[in-house]
Structure formats: C-alpha cells, structure tokens
C-alpha cells in the first residue's frame, strides 16, 4: 500500500509540469532536444537529400531530383575508387604504425624508474599541435631547398629528390607526419591501461619463473586489450577523415599520389561544385566509419569490455 502511494506520488510529481502528456523532465529537455535536432539531424537529412539530387549553385541553390545517380556514379567512378584504395592504404599504415609504436613506447616508459613523468610529458608534445601546424612544420622540414630532414637525407645519400614532390615518397611523408603527431595519444591510452594491470599477479608470475615476454603475453596483453581496442577505435575514426596535413603539404599531389577520399570529397564539393555527388561520397565515408566502429565495439562486447 505504501509502495502504491509512493508510486502515485512520484507519478503526480512527474506530471506537475501541467497539462499535456509530457512530463516536467521532458518539457525541460525539449529546448535542448530541439536545438540538437536543428544542429545535427537537419544537416544529416539535408545531406541525404542532397545525395539524391543534382545540386546547382547558379542563381541560388536549386535541386533537381536524380534518384540514385550519384550513388551509382560513386561505385563506378575510377578516380573515387582509387582515392578509396589510397585511403585504405593510408588507414592501415597510419593506424598500424601508431599502434605498434605507441604500445612499444608505452611499455618502455612503464618500465622506467626515474623521470617517467618528464619523458611522458616530452613525448606527448606533438599531440598538442594543430594538424595544420604539423603539416606546415612537415613542409618546412622536408623542403628540398632549406628543409632540415631533406638536408639530412640528401647528405646521407638516402634520398635526394624533393620529398613531397616525388610520388614514391609523398604518401610515406604525410603518413609519417600523422604518425608523429598521433602516436603520443596511443602511448597515453596504453599507459593508462598498463597502470591498471594487477601488480600482484605480475609479481606472482615473476616468482614462478615467467620471463618478460611470457608476462607480456599472458598477463599484460589480456589486461590492456580493452584500452588498446579503444585506442584503435579512436585513431581509426580520425584516420578515415584525415584532411588537414595533406591539404597544407601536397594537396593530393604529386599527381594523385596522396589524394585520399577526404581530399577527393573536398575537391568534388568546393572545386568542382558537384555538391550532390560530394554528399554521396561523404555519406559513403560515414557508412565506412560506422562499419569500422561497429566492428570494434563488437570486439569489445565479445570480450566483455564494453561496460
């Protein structure tokens, strides 16, 4: 009886806001929800609508319904296909290198006895720079006339051409710029995971005679698997929409060597003003991002780490 009264009381208090079917909480949330809808849902549905139209900017914006033309064009466009292939190569190279280097550096820092915080602070510095500045810095260092790295490579005889102007080196250069900037993030995330590894279990394994590699494989790796997948997810989402560094360094060149899909999307939208087609490419990127995120979240759920 008491419970029933309490329930009724709660119900009454929820509807105190008066009149209609909405509770007080919902009424208070409504302005923010409307704002959210205006800011995110409207552009989302607008871009879907754009992808189904041929958009013209002559005499103001006008739409001509084109059905799935933009979508079929995207799947048959050789240039866009090549941009996707380069994006995949770039994605695998950056995320792979960042994960391997990030985990290795985190393991090294974790083992330090003195100066751990100082080393970590210095290693994290690139992460605090804006990607555009990293691109400009990369251009400054690799310039064939006055760049420091270009000079070192030239003098050591390792590479004598223009780094960003040569097909064989341009993509590698922009990949390394991204790796330089974002490996520290992986280091930070993995170090957080390493701090949570049970020290008693590690000590017990050491006493039982397990060597470093054994402890790494059977104790540390399973303990940090969750944070590693989170780091992988964060970096993957970012790598798919990588734009800034390439824009200020090569702008997709030389030729199309570094023209990955976000650069092609930008060109389609703001150089060719083919906005309907650009919308379809953008939505394609979104679908790819969602697929990648879903795979990682499923892995986390399967391991019971998604709580």
């Amino acid at each position: 009886m008491a419970a029933t009264q309490t329930d009724r009381g709660t119900g009454a208090s929820k509807n105190t806001g008066g009149g209609g079917g909405l509770s007080l909480e919902m009424k208070m949330l409504l302005p923010v929800l409307l704002l959210l809808a205006v800011l995110s849902l409207f552009p989302f549905f607008y871009i879907i609508w754009m992808s189904l139209n041929t958009v013209s900017l002559i005499n103001g914006i006008s739409f001509e319904f084109a059905g799935l033309t933009n979508w079929t064009r995207m799947f048959t466009d050789v240039v866009v296909g090549a941009a996707w292939a380069r994006a995949a190569l770039y994605f695998v190279a950056t995320v792979g290198l960042e994960m391997v280097l990030g985990i290795a550096i985190a393991l090294l820092i974790h083992e330090l006895v003195w100066g751990k915080n100082l080393v970590l602070s210095l290693i994290l510095l690139p992460m605090f720079m804006a990607p555009v500045i990293v691109g400009l810095l990369g251009r400054f260092l690799t310039d064939s006339s006055y760049g420091l790295y270009a000079y070192v490579l030239r003098e050591t005889g390792l590479f004598e051409s223009d780094i960003l102007g040569t097909s064989s080196s341009a993509l590698a250069a922009v990949i390394l710029m991204d790796v330089w900037e974002w490996t520290p993030l992986v280091v930070l995330i993995v170090l957080a995971g390493l701090a949570s590894v049970n020290q008693y279990v590690l000590e017990a394994a050491k006493v039982d005679g397990a060597n470093y590699l054994g402890r790494l494989r059977y104790i540390v790796a399973p303990s940090i698997a969750g944070v590693v997948i989170v780091a992988l997810l964060v970096r993957s989402m970012d790598a798919i929409r990588y734009f800034d560094i390439i824009t200020v360094t090569t702008n997709g060149g030389p030729g199309n060597t570094t023209k990955i899909i976000p650069i092609r999307l930008y060109e389609t939208a703001f150089r060719f003003f083919d906005l309907g087609y650009a919308a379809a490419i953008g939505l394609g990127m979104l679908v790819f991002s969602i697929l990648v995120a879903t795979v990682f979240v499923q892995i986390l759920e399967r391991r019971g780490l998604a709580k």
Binding site: I109, E111, L125, P126, G138, S145, Y146, Y151, W180
Partner: protein
C-alpha cells in the same frame, strides 16, 4: 633479500634501465627535433632560415614575433622571407596610420578607412 635486490638493481637492473633510456632518447629525438627546430627557426633571421645547410649559430631576432603581433603572416613562404612585412601587416599599419593622422569624426567614429596606403 635486500642485498640481492640491491645487487640486482645496481648491476643487471641498472644496465636494463640504461638500455631503456637509450631507446627512449632515440624516441625523444624523433619527437622533439621538429619542435625544437621550429622554435629555433622562430628566432632566426630570414637568411638563416632559408640557408640550404642547417644553421645552428646565429644572432637571434624577435622580428617574426613582432610580425605576429602586427598583422601576422599569410603563409609559410611569406613568413620565411627575411624582414618582409606581410600584406596584412602593411594594410593594418596603413589603416592605423590613417586613423592616427585624421582622428575620430565629430560623432566619435573613426575616420574613413579608405584609402589604405600600402607602403
């Protein structure tokens, strides 16, 4: 136990720490060289910045920081030109000079912004 762990740390443990620091020094070199080079270059006169061989010893200058606070730079190539004021810098200076000469009008509004003399 204490003696053994101390011995372990001063011998093999210390060696292991040395290797760790050596590897991390390489990592720090990779991380910090671009940033240090950027900081160093910000104090270099333009001729030293554009030198085909790296310049480590030079007479430091604050001209680029002065340019930053008086209109900024349009981009990297322009920034690298020694002692050259950017177009925005010139325009800003032109506007400021013009305002300074004419002063505000009777309603307290600034004097006309045009023409801007690009000297």
């Amino acid at each position: 136990m204490t003696t053994s762990s101390k011995a372990n740390f001063s011998g093999r443990g210390l060696g292991k720490q040395g290797v760790l620091y050596a590897i991390l020094a390489v990592v720090l070199l990779w991380t910090l060289v671009p940033i240090l080079w950027m900081v160093l270059s910000s104090f270099k006169p333009g001729t030293a910045q554009l030198s085909p061989t790296p310049v480590f010893f030079f007479a430091p200058t604050l001209q680029h920081y002065a340019a930053l606070f008086t209109g900024g730079n349009a981009g990297l190539p322009r920034r690298l030109r020694a002692g050259e004021e950017s177009l925005q810098g010139q325009a800003t200076r032109g506007v400021l000079d013009h305002l300074d000469e004419d002063g505000p009008d009777s309603r307290g509004r600034p004097a006309a912004l045009y023409p801007v003399s690009l000297r």
